[in-house]
């Protein structure tokens, strides 16, 4: 399983006076099992890109190959795309609607036309994958849960569709630091257990540095740069020019004159010890 996006363009309101290019010649590849971080300031075109990967928006031109199938071709059915690619929107807890957690999580699998047994099995699996206790929450109303639990249920609703590519748009927005960590841990867990491709959009550079194998930077609908977190976060000036910051620890290490791109606190402590003891 891999993703190959080639020369993807999207123009809003084509042919109207309000015409606006939202994506311009975006090309990138994602290998099997990778975690990809997409960064860019609000309005840079990140969300538009995500919605293309899930078939919610149609490309004006270009192709998106997922597992060898070009999903921009007219013959490809939506159900097939959604079996392959799951998309978790920002503040996903606002999409909960069923009377019980189990029923809400079952909504996606049901739409895929699975049998009752399959659905039940997937629901159980997904709920425990996101770190909740099935027996405790299955019959409760999703609306009585805490903020963090609600978000977990919403993510389970997409995980239960067993997508080979799981896309999460700002999965930690609005959470307190503890819940924030829990949700990141849960995403890692899901990634490791299912071996999916995970695409993560975040404003939190620290999270991206910690989680991603590959980072894609978007600005004004264009792909600005792409590479490992090491590579991307070594380009502090470029990131600043598109309104992005470095991870706080990276920034700090730059300031005290450590020229390597430090991405974690552990690494920073080691480098500072070396620096002083030299």
């Amino acid at each position: 399983m891999s993703i190959k996006v080639t020369k993807l363009n999207h123009i809003y309101d084509k042919g109207m006076p309000t015409e606006q290019a939202a994506l311009v010649d975006i090309s990138f590849e994602v290998n099997d099992g990778e975690i990809v971080g997409i960064i860019g300031h609000t309005g840079s075109g990140k969300s538009t890109l995500l919605q293309h990967l899930n078939g919610l928006l149609k490309a004006t031109s270009g192709s998106i190959e997922i597992g060898g199938v070009d999903i921009t071709q007219p013959g490809v059915s939506m159900v097939d795309i959604r079996k392959k690619v799951g998309l978790v929107f920002q503040y996903p807890e606002y999409q909960l609607f069923e009377v019980s957690v189990a029923k809400d999580v079952a909504y996606g699998p049901k739409n895929l036309g699975l049998t009752e047994e399959e659905i039940d099995e997937r629901v159980r699996e997904a709920i425990s994958l996101v770190g909740l206790d099935y027996d405790k929450v299955a019959d409760r109303s999703p609306f009585e849960l805490s903020g963090g639990q609600k978000r977990a249920v919403a993510i389970a609703g997409v995980v239960a569709m067993k997508p080979e590519v799981l896309i999460l748009d700002e999965p930690t927005a609005g959470l307190d630091p503890k819940t924030h960590k829990d949700v990141l841990g849960m995403i890692k867990e899901v990634h490791e257990r299912t071996g999916n491709i995970t695409i993560l959009v975040s404003h939190n550079m620290g999270d991206i540095a910690e989680m991603a194998d590959k980072v894609i930077v978007i600005d004004s609908g264009k792909l600005v740069t792409m590479g490992t977190p090491q590579e991307v976060f070594s380009k502090g000036e470029l990131l600043k020019s598109v309104g992005l910051d470095l991870p706080p620890i990276t920034e700090f290490c730059n300031e005290i004159g450590i020229n390597d791109t430090v991405l974690s606190l552990d690494e920073a402590v080691g480098k500072i010890v070396d620096l002083i003891k030299e």
Binding site: H41, T42, G43, S146, G147, G148, A173, G174, D176, P177, K178, T179, H203, G243, D245, P248, I249, F252, E255, I256, G257, L265, A268, V269, I272, V273, L275, I276, K277, E278
Partner: protein, 282 residues
């Protein structure tokens, strides 16, 4: 310094009608807030920090105990509007606190409710919009603005009421980094102009500029003091499932490795200085 808010033995319970159960949100809180100060209140979700904030302007009334704002008791119905004019509040969700579909009319909403003269409202609205750098958006519709811009409008709406105190209830929780920086800058400016600021947040980076930090845990005040004092007790903070600012964490780790950076450093500039000094000594 003069006390502007006094909280005595404040207990607050939420009543759940369906189950007849009561949930204790604040358990005997005693605090004084001084005029002109910048107080940050931190705590995780459910620690009681938001409940405390809503008790400070009579949106919630103590189950027992008293809260005085500028000498007025928040439980007294007759003076509740005096309190709310003096203690303005900015909420978390930038969308759900704007009333009008035109920016300047929204900013005018508070002063209109207070019965201020039309010409004076006009002056206050223009001034407040300038204060938050949104003057040129005064005829725009809020839904066309970014989250940070909407939050600036919400602040202008409170500023136009000429409050002595502004309570910010997680004002940056739903904003992107750019919006967050804009709001923090405006809060610092308001504080400099003499407004008493109470900032409820769960972002550690936002509290290091405050002159007092209060950490709430399970409905109680866990720690209270200057940022240096509070963050020197990292073990207590971590015990309450909270994080400490990055520089505090880094300082602790470095000391554990035998690097003698001084305790009590919370700001990045200070840490940079300390490390450069140590480097030059060797």
């Amino acid at each position: 310094m003069e006390k502007i808010i006094t909280i005595d033995n404040l207990i607050f319970e939420y009543a759940h009608s369906e189950e007849h159960s009561r949930q204790l949100a604040l358990n005997d809180v005693n605090l004084d807030i001084y005029a002109g100060s910048f107080t940050a209140i931190i705590g995780k979700n459910g620690s009681g920090k938001s409940t405390l904030a809503k008790n400070l302007n009579g949106l919630l009334i103590p189950t027992s105990g008293v809260v005085y704002v500028d000498g007025y008791d928040t439980a007294d119905d007759d003076t509740i509007w005096e309190i709310r004019q003096r203690a303005g509040m900015v909420f978390q969700n930038p969308d759900n606190q704007l009333v009008s579909s035109i920016v300047e009319d929204d900013v005018a909403f508070g002063p209109e409710n207070l019965g201020v003269e039309p010409a004076e409202i006009r002056r206050r609205v223009d001034k407040a919009l300038e204060d938050v750098n949104m003057g040129k958006y005064k005829n725009k519709a809020p839904h066309l603005l970014s989250g940070g811009q909407k939050q600036r409008i919400a602040i202008a709406g409170v500023v136009a009421m000429k409050p002595d105190i502004i309570i910010f209830d997680e004002p940056t929780a739903m904003l992107d980094p750019k919006g967050r920086k804009e709001i923090m800058k405006i809060i610092a400016e308001l504080h400099e102009e003499g407004i008493t600021v109470i900032l409820i947040t769960h972002f550690m980076e936002e509290v290091i500029d405050a002159d007092r930090v209060i950490i709430m845990h399970d409905g109680n005040v866990l720690l209270d003091g200057t940022p240096e004092e509070v963050f020197s007790k990292a073990d207590i903070i971590k015990g309450a499932n909270l994080e400490v600012p990055l520089m505090v964490e880094l300082g602790d780790r470095l000391r554990a490795q035998g690097i003698p950076v001084p305790k009590g450093i919370i700001k990045e500039e200070e840490m940079v200085k300390a490390i450069c000094q140590l480097k030059s000594q060797n």
